[in-house]
């Protein structure tokens, strides 16, 4: 089951990477990546291959294609609490994109499809990136439209509920700015507005509420979400070239939406080439903090307490810290056959999640509402080979 509000975003990895690049008048390198990735944390393991290929035609057109598989196993805290069977799911995602270079302008368009047992998503995107001010500035305008279909699996054989089929429509608008400030410093600004309408909740999650006044046990009931959500996110980035040939990057993002979620994200990245440029090391620290949605509660006092009720921990107050290390080794630095160069990369990220108003309801030895606050750690491993041609 996909989290609806983030379904369409992988297409942007292809399109927006170009759109927010330092220049819009040069096509990106022709390149192919093959990756194996794994997320392991909170009782779930998600792993599988991913590939991304970009090739150019006559220095005017760039084509990209990607394919990704997520194999999901395990049981999250929500599933443990509800007594659901462990997951064995597969998600497959395909994207296709075209970039057309005309003078100092790049036009990009793309399509994405994501398919799994109980969620189908389709997205179309378009963006325009323009170089200006002597190529010191790149401005990007982008838009996308997504159409999702949510269904519900009702047994271990993955049979679907024939009476449950919901729609979710989404529109996004984005403005990006990349600016050369000095010969050592570049800056970036991004703003994105997202409107969503339709079935925004997860059909498997439930709220919990007290069994009665003064009760120490809880019962579960259906979540009820609003049918619309509008989100705004704005970020600034600075990247500085250090005198010993390294770079330091700082990022900040502010997010708010009509569900009253406010979030801050800070990130620092340090990049250092080593061993005559054969190896590049990246060290990353990221801190994230958010407040809860207005209709979120870990434990409602009674059923039907509010018009809208949610106990999705993504809507709870939370904070997390990520520490990452990435190593890239260039094992082929000169042309060999039709390849220009090749590298191998290994990325490891450790994420510590801490919830401020979401309790571990699986610990039933505690009276309802007094369980320990939920927290867990996750590891993310990415290993991939890249070739330039």
């Amino acid at each position: 089951m996909l989290r609806s509000s983030t379904l369409i975003r992988s297409l942007g990895a292809v399109l927006f990477a170009l759109a927010t690049a330092a220049r819009a008048d040069v096509l990106p390198d022709e390149r192919a990546d093959v990756m194996w990735k794994m997320y392991d944390g909170g009782g779930l393991k998600v792993q599988g291959p991913s590939t991304l290929v970009r090739t150019n035609i006559a220095d005017k057109v760039s084509l990209t294609g990607s394919y990704l598989v997520d194999q999901v196993t395990g049981a999250s805290i929500d599933m443990v609490v509800l007594g659901a069977s462990p997951l064995h799911e597969v998600r497959k995602q395909k994207t296709f994109g075209v970039d057309y270079l005309y003078g100092k302008t790049t036009y990009s368009a793309g399509l994405e499809s994501s398919v799994e047992n109980d969620y189908d998503g389709t997205t179309a995107s378009f963006s325009v990136a323009q170089n200006m001010f002597g190529d010191l500035t790149t401005v990007t305008l982008s838009a996308s439209r997504g159409w999702d279909i949510v269904t519900r699996v009702i047994d271990a054989k993955h049979d679907k509920d024939p009476n449950f089929r919901k729609r979710l429509d989404r529109k996004t608008w984005g403005l990006g700015l990349s600016q050369i400030l000095t010969r050592n410093l570049i800056a970036g600004f991004d703003y994105e507005a997202i409107t969503e309408q339709g079935y925004l909740q997860n059909p498997y999650r439930a709220i919990r509420y007290l069994a009665g006044v003064g009760s120490t046990i809880y019962l579960t009931g259906p979540e009820i979400y609003p049918g619309t959500r509008t989100s705004n996110a704005a970020s600034v980035r600075l990247k500085y070239y250090l005198p010993w040939r390294a770079s330091l990057t700082g990022k900040y993002r502010y997010f708010y939406d009509t569900w009253d979620i406010r979030a801050h994200t800070f990130e620092l990245d340090y990049t250092q080439p080593m061993f005559k440029d054969a190896l590049i090391a990246d060290v990353t620290y990221r801190y994230y903090k958010q407040g809860s949605a207005s209709f979120y509660s870990d434990l409602f006092q009674f059923a039907n307490q509010q018009n809208y009720m949610a106990r999705d921990r993504e809507l709870a107050s939370q904070k997390n810290s990520t520490m990452g290390l990435a190593l890239t080794y260039d094992f082929m630095k000169s042309r060999h056959w039709f390849l220009k160069k090749a590298s191998a990369s290994l990325h490891y990220d450790y994420i510590a999640y801490k919830y401020l108003d979401f309790r571990d309801a699986s610990q039933r030895q505690y009276p309802a509402g007094t369980e320990p606050l939920y927290r867990f750690n996750a590891s993310v491993i990415q290993t991939f080979v890249s070739v330039w041609f």
Binding site: T6, A13, S66, G134, V139, R237, R286, E314, N320, H347
Partner: protein
Amino acid sequence: MNALRIALLLGACLAMSACGRLQPWVKPYERERLADRVMAWDRDAISSGYITHVHENREGAHGGTGAAGGGCGCN
């Protein structure tokens, strides 16, 4: 909300209309360091897309980062 979008679009259009009047203060021959691969915003799109996806599926916030993730929230 709509007013904010219109203001941003107008701002972008005004910025574009000023093209050519401003002299670049960092000349092309002074951009060697900025062209170094350590200064790329996103060296590996396949990786940045995935880690963004990991974060966004467990957080309430999304978007506005200049890169993006994808799909599976997986309960």
